[in-house]
């Protein structure tokens, strides 16, 4: 990791009542890296990414972006720091078309009479076609309403929206879970192509085949603790499965 860290978490802990969801977790994300977060159900993956994206405040711990400590109190804070969580259903507005969704909040407008912002539909359409093509996405019609798209297409639009907004870190929670084989591989290819756009990705997945395809590094959580961290090229499925289930290093894993 010669290019330094984009983000570093230090000693993140979070309890819900008596349940210790996260215990003293350290995590680093490098520039232009795809980091996979794996672990069994209830291992703390979702809680961890919610802390990063500002949806949950940790009880303890510090977050650094490029070695500067930052406070992430809500999703807006995270967005301003260039961090965006991509929820498949939460991020898009069904009744609006693809272009409007990509540009929502940052529309291209023409100001009339000094006060009224008329939407420049044509410009935004051209720009979104160009941007999607850039990411290798062919969409027949950017004027299609998002609700008419398939799950995979929606996921792709949500991710490309984050990319277009100049996000530096995109977080995906099981992006391929509900998708067919072809759609899943499209999403996976998109994740890989984000690296060329100078965007790092944290991806939560249960599908180790997908993890080995898209990720550079994998971090394993178990019972709220980080129990393993491997470079993808230096590990294999068996080792990762053992880390997830705790078959090896069991003395270290469960407190």
């Amino acid at each position: 990791m010669s290019n330094g860290h984009l983000m570093r978490l230090e000693g993140i802990s979070k309890s819900f009542g008596g349940v210790k969801a996260l215990q003293d977790v350290d995590l680093e994300v490098a520039h232009n890296e795809v980091l996979a977060l794996v672990g069994d159900n209830g291992a703390g993956k979702s809680t961890l990414v919610k802390v990063i994206s500002g949806a949950i405040l940790p009880d303890k711990g510090r977050i650094f972006i490029e070695d500067k400590e930052v406070s992430v109190r809500n999703p807006r804070d995270a967005a301003l720091l260039g961090i965006q969580m991509c929820y498949q259903d939460l991020a898009l507005i069904d009744c609006l078309d693809v272009t409007t969704n990509i540009f929502l909040g940052r529309e291209i407008c023409k100001r009339v009479l000094g006060a009224i912002d008329f939407l420049s539909f044509k410009k935004m359409r051209m720009e979104s076609i160009r941007h999607l093509k850039d990411l290798g996405i062919e969409l027949q019609n950017v004027r299609e309403k998002v609700k008419n798209l398939s799950g995979g297409q929606r996921q792709v639009i949500a991710v490309s929206r984050a990319a277009y907004w100049g996000m530096r870190l995109v977080i995906l929670d099981e992006p391929t879970a509900a998708l067919g084989v072809r759609e899943a591989s499209r999403v996976n290819d998109l994740i890989k192509s984000l690296k060329q756009k100078n965007i790092s990705v944290i991806v939560i997945s249960h599908n180790l085949q997908h993890v080995f395809y898209v990720a550079d590094r994998v971090v394993v959580l178990r019972h709220g603790k980080k129990v393993g961290e491997k470079i993808i090229k230096e590990t294999d499925g068996d080792e990762v499965v053992k880390l997830i289930t705790g078959a090896e290093f069991s003395g270290q894993g469960i407190a």
Binding site: P75, L92, D94, C95, T100, E107, D117, F118, L119
Partner: protein, 314 residues
């Protein structure tokens, strides 16, 4: 052009347009009086008040809300305006004050809905419906206000190049609203808020402000309709606008608005209002009793919305 046609066919307005055309051709065959300029202008003038109320209603429905208070707000604004006029306040000032009162009612509705009270729009506007009607009764002591200045009556009674002024006001307001909702950034934000409030918020849309403006717009359009009504009758009664909320909702829904938010258009609402107006007018011309007319209007609402729902599934 082909593009526009395709877009039209895709939209929920399409069905309303077809319905209106079918209805009109049927009525023009059945009654020789239907397709005359004077009858058409008459229908448009009759619907103008409901149609103006339905503008604000459409805004509110697009954000996923509902405004049951429009009929009462209409009465309260008109009653206040009329009261001031009859107590020596100049006509323009009184009209302005009445319209402002509508805006204030809308603002209060919004406060209950968007602040931490987080009241469901149905309940908040139901409360305002009762308060508005009650205040109208208090101010008038339950009696109509007669004898408004003749000058005031000219507004809604007048014509401009042969077209009744209320119809012109209606068309002008629809034009402004349509341009706003379809082509302006802040207009699009109403759809974004109604479609997925959380996502809109995360994207930087001030959803609370959007919802607030929807209720304020609704208050203003209700008050404007109240002024038109008072001007047409040169008097106002505290029970004016009773049931307008339902007619306005019906117009919006026939025009393709979705009560779950995110969908609807003013073009559709206008056509919806015209359909109910034409239907009533046609049934009148055919000597159908007003009791049956209500039944027919209800059946039309049910069938239009069912066909829309089925079309969406296919």
């Amino acid at each position: 052009m082909k593009d526009v046609l395709l877009k039209l066919k895709d939209s929920r307005v399409f069905l309303a347009v077809i319905g209106l055309l079918l209805l009109s051709s049927l009525l023009s065959v059945l009654s020789p009086h239907f397709l005359t300029v004077s009858n058409i202008l008459n229908v448009l003038r009759q619907i103008s008040m409901i149609a103006v109320v339905a503008i604000g209603m459409t805004y509110v429905i697009i954000t996923g809300g509902i405004d049951l208070s429009v009929g009462s707000v209409l009465a309260l604004s008109a009653v206040c305006g009329a009261f001031l006029m009859n107590h020596g306040v100049s006509m323009y000032l009184a009209v302005l004050a009445g319209i402002m009162i509508g805006g204030v009612c809308g603002f209060l509705n919004a406060m209950l809905v968007v602040t931490r009270i987080n009241m469901p729009p149905f309940v908040a506007t139901l409360a305002m419906m009762s308060v508005g009607r009650g205040l109208s009764m208090v101010i008038t002591e339950g009696r109509p206000i007669y004898g408004l200045p003749a000058q005031f009556g000219f507004i809604a009674g007048g014509y401009f190049s042969g077209i009744p002024v209320p119809v012109l006001i209606m068309i002008l307001l629809y034009l402004i609203g349509h341009i706003h909702l379809s082509y302006v950034k802040t207009g699009m934000y109403f759809y974004a808020t109604g479609g997925n409030e959380e996502a809109a918020r995360v994207a930087g849309v001030d959803a609370k402000r959007v919802k607030l403006s929807a209720y304020v717009i609704s208050g203003f359009t209700a008050a404007l309709a109240g002024m038109i009504l008072a001007s047409r009758l040169v008097s106002i009664e505290p029970l004016a606008g009773l049931g307008y909320e339902l007619d306005a909702i019906a117009a919006a829904v026939i025009g393709g608005a979705n009560l779950y938010g995110g969908e609807g258009s003013l073009l559709g609402t206008l056509i919806g209002a015209i359909i109910t107006g034409v239907l009533r007018n046609g049934l009148n011309l055919l000597d159908v009793s007003p009791y049956w007319q209500q039944v027919v209007v209800g059946l039309v609402i049910a069938s239009v919305v069912s066909i829309n729902a089925l079309r969406k599934k296919s």
